[in-house]
């Protein structure tokens, strides 16, 4: 009898300790951090010019001539190994064709006109000049106009959205809303300024964009993002829910200990946590882990030594093209690693891909763009624990099947407490670029759900 009580006491004590030390920390929700408005620029904070200025892309002849010379004089590439395809990185036989096209057929002045088709502006926020597109719908009769902030990621840019914007800003059949689209370049990317002091990680960027939207006159709006864009809009919804009417992402992302535990538990019997047709996108975990290890080398390097690798990428256009285009091949469809040309132009034309590379090249922004990784993956940022705070604003997730990671619904619901929209779509990481109409439609469906909430599903 005594022994029974003793055992019960020991078990209770062990359970209490396990709960306090292991379980509770995993489940605890930290408070929302209060972040100030750090001055990221070089100028005088008291003399900030808060006016909105119109902007047009106009690259100097000198930069274009320099580029031509570098492309023409690039040394021959190292031949790929026999049958290497894309398994050792981009296949240089194919890269040779790309560089030829870039040198001889790609016409930047034409592309500049293309890029300038949408109204562009710049405005200073916390010391950084932010460049953005601002497209207001022309036809609005009978439609509700919704402001929509779209954020890009790496190695993307505002270019990714050019084909999608018309679908969002012109009336679509059967819809009762239309969008007013605002597409900025992230600080350190493209035509936006970069921070001069350390600390501008994804969480701080959320602060910058909240202030950006206020400065250009929007206090309540929709957000959409992929890649870093999805992380930043996620943080905006966490930190400033009162500003966000609804948040949509094509790379919904949950980074908490509990998420990892749930994924692991799900591996015992995946059909319990994931639909059969999607099972291979998330399991077996060993395959997923191996795939991530194979693809995350760039992230590991950029999160630790962005300035080092940036020197070469800023000095070599062919090097920059190789580095960026490899992602557009593998992240659109991982199976394309077994193709000689990496399937690069199967979904996005070479001209469009080079537009994106050019934005990095003519602005010389590759180094500052990579710093986002080291600014976000460090102890100071992670200690803010913003990832662990759930989002209450209406959320929508479009899960693309060939995306780098496929989140379980079971896991998403912990972070996106108000997940009113979840779809699975065919496509890869650069969803807006690859499938502009598909993604636009999904955004419409989500927005209409937010605007017209039904009592029952």
């Amino acid at each position: 009898m005594g022994k029974g009580i003793l055992i019960a006491v020991v078990v209770a004590a062990l359970s209490a300790v396990t709960y306090l030390k292991l379980v509770r920390p995993i489940l605890e929700v930290p408070p929302v951090p209060k972040l100030g408005d750090t001055w990221w620029g070089a100028g005088d904070p008291t003399k900030e010019d808060t006016k909105i200025h119109p902007f047009k892309i106009n690259v100097s002849d000198e930069i274009l001539k320099d580029l031509q010379q570098r492309l023409a004089n690039a040394l021959p590439f190292q031949e790929p190994l026999e049958n290497a395809k894309q398994h050792y990185g981009i296949n240089t036989k194919h890269l040779k064709n790309i560089v030829n096209f870039w040198r001889t057929k790609y016409n930047w002045r034409e592309r500049e006109k293309f890029l300038n088709q949408y109204p562009q502006f710049t405005v200073s926020v916390q010391g950084l000049k932010i460049h953005y597109l601002h497209i207001k719908p022309k036809e609005t009769k009978g439609l509700k106009v919704l402001p929509l902030l779209i954020l890009h990621g790496w190695p993307g840019s505002i270019r990714e959205f050019y084909e999608m914007i018309p679908f969002l800003t012109t009336p679509q059949k059967g819809r009762n809303v239309v969008f007013e689209v605002i597409v900025p370049s992230l600080p350190g990317y493209g035509f936006s300024d970069a921070a001069v002091r350390p600390g501008l990680g994804a969480v701080e960027m959320a602060v910058v964009f909240k202030n950006f939207m206020s400065r250009i006159g929007y206090e309540k709006y929709y957000t959409q993002g992929g890649d870093w864009g999805s992380i930043i809009v996620q943080h905006m919804a966490t930190l400033f829910p009162e500003k966000i009417k609804g948040t949509h992402s094509n790379m919904c992302f949950v980074n908490t200990p509990l998420a990892n535990v749930k994924e692991f538990i799900g591996s015992i019997y995946p059909p319990l946590v994931i639909e059969k047709e999607n099972e291979l996108a998330a399991y077996p975990l060993s395959n997923k882990f191996y795939y991530l290890m194979l693809e995350m080398g760039y992230m590991h390097l950029q999160a630790t030594k962005p300035d080092t690798v940036g020197v070469a990428l800023r000095d070599s256009p062919v090097g920059l093209a190789a580095y960026l285009l490899e992602k557009f091949s593998t992240w659109t469809n991982p199976e394309w690693k077994s193709l000689d040309d990496g399937g690069l132009t199967k979904k996005i034309s070479l001209t469009n891909l080079l537009d994106n590379v050019m934005i990095y090249w003519v602005t010389r922004s590759i180094t500052t763009s990579m710093r986002l990784y080291s600014e976000s993956f460090n102890i100071a940022q992670m200690n803010l624990k913003v990832d662990r705070i759930p989002i209450e604003v209406p959320s929508g997730c479009a899960r693309f099947t060939k995306e780098l990671a496929f989140p379980l619904e079971w896991v998403l619901k912990d972070k996106y407490k108000n997940l009113i929209h979840l779809t699975d779509l065919e496509g890869g990481h650069f969803a807006a670029f690859e499938e502009p109409k598909l993604l636009a439609e999904d955004i419409y469906v989500f927005a209409e759900k937010v605007e017209n909430p039904k009592k029952t599903d």
Binding site: G89, S267, T304, T308, V309, R314, S316
Partner: protein, 492 residues
Amino acid sequence: MFKRPPPLIAPNAPRGRSLFVSSLRVEPFPGYRIKSVFEPPPLPKLDNETWWGIGPPNDDWKTKLLIFPLNITVPSEILEYLKWRLDTHRPLTPPLEGMAHQYGMNTKLLQEVIDYWKTEYNWTERELFLNQYPQYKLNIQGLHIHVVHKNSFEDGYKVVPILLLHGWPGSVREFYELIPYLTKPQEGRKIIFEVIAPYLPGNPNNLVLRILSSGGQAGPGGGPDGRPLQEPHGQARLRQVLCARGDFGAVILHHMAVLYPESILGFHSNMCVVHTPRAFLLNLLGTVFPSLNVRPDHHDRLYPLSEYFQRMLRETGYLHLQATKPDTIGVAMNDSPIGIAAYFLEKFITGTNRTWQLREDGGLKEAFSYRDLIDNIMIHWVTQSATTAFRLYAETFNKAHHGLGIMRKALFVVVWSRPSHPVRVPTACARFKYDFYASDAALRELYPNLLQLTDHEGGHFAAFQLPELFANDLYDAVEKFEEYHKNNVKTE
């Protein structure tokens, strides 16, 4: 018919059970399974006849060894192109406010080095310097191997042949200051060395641009690399040699000592690392009982373990990228001299003394001259060997290599594997303070015949940084090896 190397890319894993279920499989003899984790896997049978070169081999490639003497002569077009690239490089991105090298290469320092390179560095002089030692080109298994071979003939001294292997981002240049100490009589020593220092395949190997580079096929990795290097010694009638070096050189030599112990008189390394499961456990145990694992004065080299892992994580981005996408990053490195300079110099700063990352000047001048560092960078630049050098990482750290059994995945760190078979030939380890660390207890597992273990101030590029000290350590070690062999004549 010659043989092609086996495909190194693992086929897509068949749809199988998930991770968790597999580990739930009932194990009939769990004790045996645990034990087998600690034992090295059986030695692989490697094929001495793999053809690594481009195109079909000649009929007599197995029997005839071709040796050509050569000098480094870089055509003037290459030098003019380099000058143009250095003159027209884009302005560098300034570092973040208040930062030295925490985000990588500090461009203020880089500008200083580039200015030196543009104005004071004189390649013609340096070419003469590099050509001071006799050099040859050998054809091994389809690869052109460039070797520096300095012999010595001194009355009254026993000549011992030694194979020096460099690593990444190094080259034979690292040994140029060391070689005179090895080939000229030293006071109080009775031996003298005949130095054989090849450039690793894929590492600077072709001294004229656009010559077909070695390694047309996937491979050679840190394992099989040992084989091609075996040949010249067999052919040159040097059946028993010593080896010395660090970084990849150490890894390759370790494999050679394991696979061909009959050819290795002794093995000296300045990067003895042990990443076996047992060593890992010893490290863990040492967090609670340090005396079981490390000496008191070495405690801070490994502990706290969390800091050690953070450090490793912070410094191995390059390894991760090169092990997975060498061809991608290689394009930029082969196309930008300042790019490859930044990439390499960062390693010389961090590898020599990691505290130098906090200094804007990177501390480089305390250990090296800009001139010597640029020699090494030039060797990689004029031969355009960035990509092929990176591929060594991909070939060494991939699944097929693991499948060979000669490398074992260290727990937790899949891409960082190290040799797992013990070396039975006489071994000497020279531990340098800022280099990778292996505790005394761990070393005993992999190097049961460790005849010398010395500790020195210094970093990863030991021979480059401290040639005289390194030479002395080598002499001491070889003397011990000679003693050992004298006393073990019966068993040979």
